[in-house]
């Protein structure tokens, strides 16, 4: 298992953003769904070792991120794309990806190839020397994906990765996710259920800080049979599970 979470909580002041989550995930693509404020981003940030849990147990890639040495090992194998991607406008695409490759301690000998491969994989090879300030929102998002995958991560956490991508790019991105999911654990937080259906092998649905569903997309679809809210089967399943959790 690359992700082993038991009773994980995270509190921000008086707000309990994550209120006791259990999750286990190995290689594959896990879709993380939920309404706004469900705790998805907080959960993702804890898995990214950006913030510490308030309580509970978290093991990533077989290691405890609470200790310095193991945390460093985790971070070498980790890729993370936050929902709001910060960037340095003066950097070029290649420089931005290279910067994060260096910070992730990608061996220097492999660095140029790793950067080139990451940039090509997100189809920005022709824009490698373009400054980030000159890119569209969708391209910036792809740059964010490139920096997340440059170190061939074993654990990849993506928060709204397809925001701003055109339909063609989204199709290509789903293919990338499936490919990455063959070797790594990919956790994708998204509002787009069609992304979940096309790319994910498992789906986790969160509401009010708790996991209310964990299973395959087919299981989620089945939960929506006979439920009227939603234009697509997965949407109906999503709505049905949430309604059940709140009733």
């Amino acid at each position: 298992m690359n992700v082993e979470i038991t009773g994980l909580t995270r509190r921000f002041g008086r707000t309990m953003a994550v209120a006791g989550v259990d999750l286990r995930a190995g290689p594959g693509v896990v879709g993380l769904l939920g309404p706004n404020g469900a705790g998805k981003t907080s959960l993702l940030r804890m898995m990214a070792t950006a913030i510490r849990p308030t309580s509970g147990t978290l093991r990533l890639l077989g290691r405890d991120p609470g200790a310095d040495g193991p945390r460093r090992e985790i971070r070498r194998r980790l890729g993370y794309l936050p929902q709001n991607l910060g960037y340095y406008p003066g950097f070029t695409v290649a420089e931005f990806v290279e910067y994060f490759a260096l910070l992730k301690e990608v061996p220097a000998a492999q660095l140029p190839a790793a950067v080139a491969a990451a940039v090509e994989r997100v189809d920005l090879g022709g824009k490698a020397k373009t400054k980030l300030r000159a890119l569209s929102g969708g391209m910036l998002r792809r740059v964010g994906v490139a920096q997340a995958i440059v170190n061939e991560p074993e654990l990849l956490l993506l928060d709204e990765p397809t925001a701003g991508l055109d339909p063609e790019q989204r199709v290509a991105f789903r293919a990338l996710l499936r490919e990455l999911g063959q070797r790594a654990t990919v956790v994708v937080s998204t509002h787009l259920v069609e992304d979940v259906g096309a790319a994910c092998t498992r789906v986790t649905l969160m509401d009010r800080g708790k996991i209310v569903f964990h299973g395959t997309p087919e299981d989620l679809t089945a939960r929506g049979e006979g439920y009227g809210t939603g234009d697509a089967p997965l949407e109906r399943g999503y709505s049905a599970v949430l309604a059940g959790a709140r009733s």
Partner: protein
């Protein structure tokens, strides 16, 4: 959102039969306040107040010759830099393509902060030996703010402080040359001119006016460097 008939918004009729949305009472004040918050004007006011307090404390000590004239210049430059930084917009394009109020908001912010800075520094010097006096403070603050605003238009709001702080060095050096000749006497270096000097006042006012106009119309440039 529900379907329904569209109706005219209540409001005054304008020439040509068009109606404008009613402007709720105190909306102008609210707009000014929100604009000020977006530009971190409260932090700028705090910075200006800190400059005034710093000047007051520094005036307790004895300063002679050109040191007495350079001292207020330091705090005037700090205030001008704080004002120039408020031109940086965190909102970018969505704000620039809104209606007609943005230039007026920029103008009002810059003018109000400049007046506040001058008033605060003059008040800080009240009752103490403020070399140069009130006119000197007003002229220097206005002039250096103008430089900062022009810098914001060229380098962006974040780096706008480069102008006033660079001019601080120029002004301090020019004051030094009053005691170590040859003196620099050009009115474009107004801190080195007497408070009642018309040429220096005109130069400072001109720079201030140009800076205000440029920043009101164009706003600060988007960040150039890192």
């Amino acid at each position: 959102m529900t379907a329904g008939t569209t109706g005219e918004m209540p409001g005054a009729a304008a020439p040509g039969g068009k109606t404008w949305p009613a402007w709720p009472p105190r909306a102008g004040t609210r707009l000014l306040r929100l604009h000020a918050i977006s530009r971190r004007v409260p932090a700028a006011i705090a910075a200006i107040a800190a400059c005034a307090i710093g000047l007051r404390i520094a005036l307790i000590g004895h300063w002679d010759t050109y040191g007495a004239l350079q001292l207020p210049l330091v705090f005037e430059a700090g205030s001008a830099a704080a004002i120039a930084i408020t031109t940086a917009s965190p909102l970018g394009e969505p704000e620039r393509v809104t209606g007609r109020w943005l230039p007026f908001l920029r103008l009002a912010t810059a003018l109000a902060l400049t007046a506040a800075a001058a008033a605060a520094l003059i008040a800080a010097g009240a009752g103490a030996h403020l070399a140069g006096g009130r006119l000197d403070v007003l002229r220097n603050v206005a002039g250096m703010t103008g430089i900062g605003l022009l810098c914001a238009a060229v380098l962006g709001g974040g780096l706008a402080w480069v102008g006033p702080t660079g001019y601080l060095v120029v002004g301090a050096y020019a004051l030094y040359t009053q005691w170590h000749r040859p003196a620099l006497t050009t009115p474009w270096i107004w801190p080195a001119r007497p408070p009642h000097d018309a040429g220096a006042a005109i130069c400072a006012a001109l720079v201030f006016t140009i800076g205000i106009v440029v920043i009101s119309v164009r706003g600060a440039r988007d960040p150039v460097g890192e």
